[in-house]
Amino acid sequence: MATPLTARIRSDGVAVDLASYEASGGYQGLRAALAMGSAGVREAVTQAKLRGRGGAGFNTGLKWSFVPIEDGAQHYVVANADEKEPGTMKDRLLMEGDPHSLIEGLAITALAIKASVGFIFLRREYSKCALALERALGEARAKGYLGEAILGSDFSLEIHLHLSAGRYMCGEETGLLNALEGKRATPRSKPPFPQVSGLWGKPTIVNNVETLVNVPVILRDGSEAFKALSLTGDGGTKLYGVSGRVRNPGVWELPLGTSAREIMERAGGMAEGLSLRGFIPGGASTDFLGGDKLDVKMDFDSVAQAGSRLGTGTMVVLDDRTCPVGMVLSLERFFARESCGWCTPCREGLPWVVRCLEALESGSGEMGDIETLEELSRRLSPGSTFCAFAPGAVEPLQSALKLFRSDFEDHVRKGACPWK
């Protein structure tokens, strides 16, 4: 099975250096891109049907096409390496193991949208990634893959590594842009979208790390080969992960559209003596699916049809000896703490959600609390808040209230957590 994103990554944890990167096809994508030119690159990526791996699954080529390419103004490219969605650990793997692939992906993206400055917005906690990227940026500059007149062309690019001082909202692309400008990472209203008015008001493309790492593969192997990597109409492989109480938690690169069951097999199935009750398919802000949904294909459209979102593609599993109310409480505590406080429903609503869940979990809750939670999920739904944070925050809550209803009610009836 082809694993173009992870094939180079060494098992000893040492990052791939420039020489080994080049020896295994590295920077061939950039060379091809320079030969094709900006419009050709955009066409190739659109043909490849690459969809964003940061959570929303937006078509990457289409997103790039909104940039006013020929306006002659300064444009920017940004790698979103904030990865703080609970349950997500895939971008870390790529940056620690194969930092040049991100640099090459950013360079090709910059060429496509005619940007001359790029940023890698990295969470500071990823200190190993920072070291690997610093070194790789130095190597790439020294070898002429970055800087002025790259490989003798008229394309120039400088990439800055920005270490964030930490906050989940920095991962939301407009919050990220505010943070890069030295402001609080509260979101901006859209439209205008960053593709038109982003960093310092200039056209800007923000893409997820995994998205960008796919770009050199498209340019090197061609759009058709890229599409053939996938089991669905969308192109490429996907980094899937499993965490929770399974035998062998981890991250694996598999064809896009691999079933949840096959991914669980990679994880060795549930840990000794446990069975599966449900899972969130792609990080904290995705709806729970029941344990009977293992045959769902883990691609954007199939997971949506099943009633959730692919999100980041990293599953967190709920076993039959872990309290679903406790799990949801852990998720909502994260969201309540990370709310940026800009709009009232989210700032006030999420702490209320946490208080209701705490009451239920400790045994002092009432049936009315369950209804309050349902009401709050509706009030934080898409369109009711300033950004997508709050709707994401209530996805696991609203689905848990349906799937694990009797567990919530048992807490009230017993006046205690039945799992303790």
Binding site: E125, R184, A284
Partner: protein, 164 residues
């Protein structure tokens, strides 16, 4: 007053960011690295160095989780309390930290050695439970590992880190 070496590092941070204001979070981290935390006086100094108002700098400083506006211990322990770690043993890990250090999240040991802070997902969910001590990540932390880690840090990080 900022030291000469802080000023030098601040100018470098501004050069890298390409603009004074954009460097603000990095500059706050420079000061914090030198002094352990960001006091009101340091905040005012940063504001002056970046030609920003103290309120603007405060807005940024209080937004970011890794900027400390109160004094912390010599070593900061970030314990992940997010979902995968919660499922696989966060509460046990926190309990062990409490019994070893006598403090909980948000508190500092009497000898000023350790502060425990709660942290959102550290991106090591497949190796949970996870925690960081200063810049170092530790995964799959059970009771014995915790003892080795604390001893290693107390002894000044001599020898290889007790990673698993």
């Amino acid at each position: 007053m900022l030291s000469a070496s802080e000023r030098e590092r601040i100018e470098r941070a501004i050069a890298v960011a390409g603009d004074r204001r954009s460097a603000v979070s990095e500059v706050l981290m420079v000061v914090q690295e030198a002094r352990g935390w960001v006091s009101d006086q340091s905040l005012a100094d940063v504001a002056e160095a970046l030609a920003m108002s103290a309120d603007e700098v405060e807005g940024v400083a209080t937004f970011f989780e890794l900027v400390f506006r109160r004094s912390v211990g010599k070593h900061v322990i970030l314990v992940c309390d997010s979902v995968s770690c919660w499922i696989t043993g966060y509460e046990a890990l926190l309990g062990q930290l409490r019994s070893r250090l006598g403090i909980g999240p948000g508190e500092t040991t009497a000898d000023g050695m350790f502060t425990i802070l709660p942290a959102g997902c550290l991106g090591a969910c497949d190796k949970a439970p996870a925690m960081m001590v200063d810049e170092e990540l530790f995964v799959g932390v059970g009771s014995e590992e915790l003892d080795r880690i604390l001893k290693w840090v107390r002894d000044g990080r001599h020898g290889d880190a007790p990673h698993r």
